[in-house]
Symmetry: C2
Subunit: 235 residues, 2 copies
């Protein structure tokens, strides 16, 4: 019988794991000996914090990143074909969402390995819940273009789609670029468009607020270098 | 000082709550006396199952549904203005995503009430994680049109968008219509398009599998009357 591929979310910052992960996840982790991870150091740190039964040094880790050779990925799943469970752990949040885990999962499906997603914090989903925006139709677009003209062009196109399709638009940004993204949004979106800024989600410093672009222009929060999600909905 | 509006996810079926909810959620529930819920009976059942400290009969419940009068919603938030915490509970999964909670949240933002989303199971997100499809760009479209010609028209338009924008397309369906939606997808999507069928997510009977439309046509699972999420990505 094949082992399972468990998708194991981690916390979004330095909080206690039982604030954001169900008890069941810790029980499953204790059955896993092989891990495919985005970063070995942070995965090991997570497993220590989760107080796993196994000795960390007895576990097998494979690291994947956008620089990895995908032809190697098949081998990382061999343990499951031999009946061992494998865990996937990303740098933050939920594997497979805005990170390289999805490629591993796709191969697992091809090999007929059971893929089991565990519950945990996704900054995208928590931000959407707390935004008060349309949760019946939404799109996550990842990162916007870095160059201002292309970025503004996409923002305007997405704003039009948001209005025509009643679709909430969601983005993530590298923390050091937050302030410049926010400035571009306030410059290019229409005054009546609702914009949600969600920062430090699940942490003590969490800040999630939805206002119109017009109101954000009057005063906007200090968000630079903090992990953030941006959502907007045009009316 | 104002109370908070907590968004409290519930389980997706009849499993144990600590399989899908972090310990912190139970601690927060014990501080809440006012609830805005999609269905009072199921919210009470959830709170009993969560073993809350308060007597259920001492709690205040407001019910919201798509038939509710939105002009009443403002009043439901009065307790928070007086310093009491309020909880939002939907019928299944995460409040504000594919359910009426979003309207309450939007009003809370207007009133300057702190909105705090708690971690829990979202069938949409868990299905996306486990699909192996693009998690850097995805759109949830809710329900497809019920009538076949419109439904097929939208499926084909979404398939084109999926290919052009590398965007995963995600849908939910009323369980009794699953089989007919699947049949329409297999009929109208291209053979090479990847389709993920995710059924009974987080339950013992969980089934999540991604194959090409061509392969699903050879044999497809019995999914009728089971809660399901459908995802596709065109290549």
């Amino acid at each position: 019988m094949k082992g399972n591929l468990y998708l194991i979310p981690v916390s979004l910052g330095d909080n206690e794991l039982n604030e954001v992960l169900p008890q069941r996840n810790f029980e499953i982790i204790d059955e896993i000996t092989h891990y495919i991870v985005e970063n070995i150091r942070s995965a090991r740190r997570f497993l220590v914090k989760a107080k796993i039964k196994h000795k960390i040094d007895d576990l097998t880790f494979y690291e994947i990143s956008k620089h990895s050779n995908r032809n190697e990925y098949h081998k990382y799943l061999d343990a499951a074909l031999k009946g061992e469970h494998i865990g996937v752990i990303s740098e933050a949040g939920c594997p497979g969402i805005a990170d390289p885990g999805a490629d591993i999962v796709a191969i697992a499906h091809e090999k007929g390995i059971n893929v089991i997603p565990l519950v945990g914090p996704s900054s995208i989903f928590l931000a959407l819940m707390a935004s008060g925006m349309n949760g019946q139709n939404f799109a996550f677009k990842g990162y916007l273009p870095v160059k201002k003209p292309q970025r503004i062009k996409q923002l305007k196109a997405d704003e039009l789609r948001s209005r025509n399709e009643h679709q909430t638009q969601i983005y993530i940004e590298a923390p050091y670029r937050n302030a410049s993204l926010l400035a571009d949004m306030l410059e290019s979106l229409k005054p009546a468009t609702k914009l949600c800024i969600a920062v430090d989600i699940t942490l003590k410093s969490e800040f999630i607020q939805t206002k119109t672009v017009k109101d954000w222009k009057k005063s906007s929060p200090e968000i630079n270098k903090k992990p953030a999600i941006f959502l907007f909905q045009a009316l």
